[in-house]
């Protein structure tokens, strides 16, 4: 047994899992600091769930190494299981049982006596606003309630590491915000959270570090700031009144913004990709740009500011898109004013 000194909750090196011909996870290296929310961002089928399943000892890696608090997930699986909890669509509670019964059942399995399991279960149900539904079978729960009972079941014993696999997929915005509140409360008490998501804004809201996964590989990793810098904080799209003023506008913008400025096919349009390295927000940078252009006597006909969406992140990082429609809440993109 190894002693854990690195301060890392999760360490993986060259993690591989293949299903037949598909390399679902193809050499993933992760280093997740303890006590933080770590976001794993990627589209469906990127290998997020497979990675989580290996880390939670549910799947055996075909190659590579993974340690959770210093314990090898294969050789010391039992140690790992004692410290982690798992919430995902596949790791669910029993639909035939009531909310209370599910929590008492899991409480008993974790070693609580009957009375203690019931007490802890009832306290959790109350904290999650599920007291009214406690005696109902889980199959009658709504999506938001369902997600709450799943998370409640995962924190019967406060885990050192909590895996949340796409905890808000399919939830309405209000339920999603409530799940976010729960995640913040959990991490505030010192639990490390590994959160997988398809939504950039979710990772942005909760995670301190983010790994972007595509086709079983980590294609970008870093703090939110670093990641945004590599992708760009968004882009400013401009249409000028006079095409002849465009070279001058380009020059002004290049000098002013930490940005990559590109003329568009439309002779009056240009796009500036904002870098996140600048201390100003994208909106401030855009406001400054407009002011500067006005001072230079350049007339701007229309203007729009686009946040990077998950699709843009992927496009920027991989050169291909996610292959799926991005939900409206994963970043607003308003560059439709730009003519082709």
């Amino acid at each position: 047994m190894s002693t854990h000194t690195s301060g890392l909750a999760i360490e993986t090196a060259g993690l591989v899992k293949t299903f037949g011909e598909t390399r679902a996870v193809d050499g993933v290296d992760l280093a997740v600091p303890a006590g933080t929310v770590y976001g794993v961002l990627g589209p469906n089928g990127a290998g997020k769930t497979t990675t989580v399943k290996m880390l939670a000892t549910l799947l055996r890696p075909d190659d590579g190494q993974a340690r959770v608090f210093g314990h090898d997930v294969v050789r010391e699986a039992d140690e790992v299981r004692g410290r982690v909890s798992l919430t995902g669509q596949y790791a669910s509670v029993d639909e035939d049982l009531t909310g209370t019964e599910n929590l008492v059942l899991l409480g008993r399995l974790l070693g609580h006596g009957k009375a203690a399991a019931r007490e802890r279960g009832e306290q959790l149900l109350a904290a999650f606003g599920l007291t009214d539904a406690a005696a109902k079978q889980v199959k009658h729960y709504s999506g938001g309630m369902r997600r709450r009972i799943d998370i409640a079941a995962s924190i019967l014993n406060t885990p050192d590491l909590l895996f949340l696999d796409e905890p808000t997929t399919g939830l309405d915005p209000r339920s999603r915000n409530q799940v976010w509140d729960i995640v913040r409360a959990v991490v505030a008490q010192g639990t490390t959270v590994l959160l997988t998501t398809q939504y950039l804004d979710e990772a942005d809201q909760l995670a301190s570090r983010i790994a972007v996964i595509d086709q079983g590989r980590v294609i970008a990793e870093g703090t939110k700031g670093e990641l945004k810098a590599s992708v760009g904080a968004g882009s400013v799209h401009l249409r000028l009144r006079d095409a002849e003023e465009r070279p001058e506008a380009e020059r002004v913008l290049r000098n002013l913004l930490v940005a990559e400025v590109q003329p568009e096919a439309d002779p009056v349009a240009l796009t500036a990709r904002l870098g996140a390295a600048a201390s100003d927000t994208a909106a401030d940078q855009a406001a400054k740009a407009l002011g500067e252009l006005a001072r230079a006597g350049i007339t701007v006909d229309s203007f729009s500011l686009g946040q990077p969406s998950l699709d843009e992140v992927f496009l920027a990082l991989t050169g291909h898109d996610t292959g799926q429609r991005t939900d409206g809440d994963s970043g607003t993109d308003t560059k439709d004013e730009v003519a082709a």
């Binding site: 999650f128 729960y141 309405d172």
Partner: protein, 282 residues
């Protein structure tokens, strides 16, 4: 009984992050529960499921009664002169056949749990690994007991009079339950191995029908062709049926009991480890 159906989304009480934080402060963990304790807890889960979905008792009540009535009156006159004579011979056999048949639902339960995702939560717990499987079988033991009691009651009404009395009957049922527990590991294996509930069901049927019918449950094997006798006389179901029949008739069929226990041990030793291997590798 199941609770009233209603799924309200509209006004869910808010999450109280303060009380949640208070709950999360405790990082103490109770000591790890024993293998027996976790197995019994899973058994309790099976009983809760019977409470919520009582329809699932259909296969341990109506199905055995149907078997008993059908075979007694269908074959009784032809094979033994009258149904009331035949039932003395056939009841222990039909009891064995019915209970062994309903063991196959274990595999279906395992498969449904995998599909619903309950399984992965269970597998991520730090507990004695086979306890989930043992739990299914403990819950099922209750179902088999219900089936046995139901069939014996109906049999007594139809004129079955076991010479072994209460003790003989209880001994017979105990042997049957023991065998069923060991035999069920075949189904837990199939439940883990096959992809869908349907395929579990059809593979189970393919195993269970020939195995139960090609036995001495209904008739004396001496009337069968030689090659079939070879199979029937060595079938675990034949040994079990003979042993249960003997015990209920007040005898002590030591050889048959020994064969039955031998088979039970073999099933447990082969399919138990295969099941656990699949469970861990899933």
């Amino acid at each position: 009984m199941s609770t009233a159906t209603s799924s309200e989304t509209k006004d869910l009480s808010p999450v109280s992050t303060e009380s949640l934080a208070a709950l999360l402060v405790t990082r103490e963990r109770p000591p790890r529960p024993s293998a027996l304790s976790t197995s019994l807890t899973f058994g309790w889960r099976a009983i809760l499921k019977i409470k919520h979905v009582p329809e699932q008792l259909f296969d341990v009540t109506a199905f055995p009664i149907m078997n008993l009535l059908m075979f007694t009156y269908l074959f009784g006159g032809a094979l033994a002169g009258s149904p009331s004579d035949y039932i003395q011979f056939v009841l222990p056999g039909i009891l064995v056949m019915s209970v062994v048949m309903i063991t196959m639902y274990t595999g279906v339960s395992v498969n449904i749990d995998i599909e619903k995702g309950v399984f992965d939560r269970i597998r991520s717990l730090p507990i004695w690994r086979p306890s989930a499987m043992v739990g299914y079988l403990l819950g099922d033991a209750l179902r088999y007991t219900i089936a046995s009691v139901v069939m014996l009651s109906v049999g007594l009404l139809l004129g079955y009079r076991p010479d072994g009395g209460f003790v003989g009957v209880v001994a017979g049922i105990a042997l049957l339950l023991l065998f069923s527990f060991a035999f069920s590991w075949i189904w837990t294996m199939f439940g883990l191995m096959l992809r869908t509930e349907k395929s579990v069901m059809s593979v189970s049927m393919m195993v269970i029908f020939p195995l139960t019918f090609l036995s001495n449950v209904f008739v004396d094997p001496r009337t069968m062709p030689g090659w079939l006798q070879a199979f029937v006389n060595n079938s675990p179901i034949t040994h079990l049926a003979s042993a249960v029949r003997g015990l209920m008739a007040g005898g002590w069929p030591g050889v048959e009991i020994a064969w039955t226990l031998g088979w039970a041990g073999l099933f447990l030793l082969v399919f138990g480890p295969v099941t656990m291997r699949l469970y861990n590798r899933k």
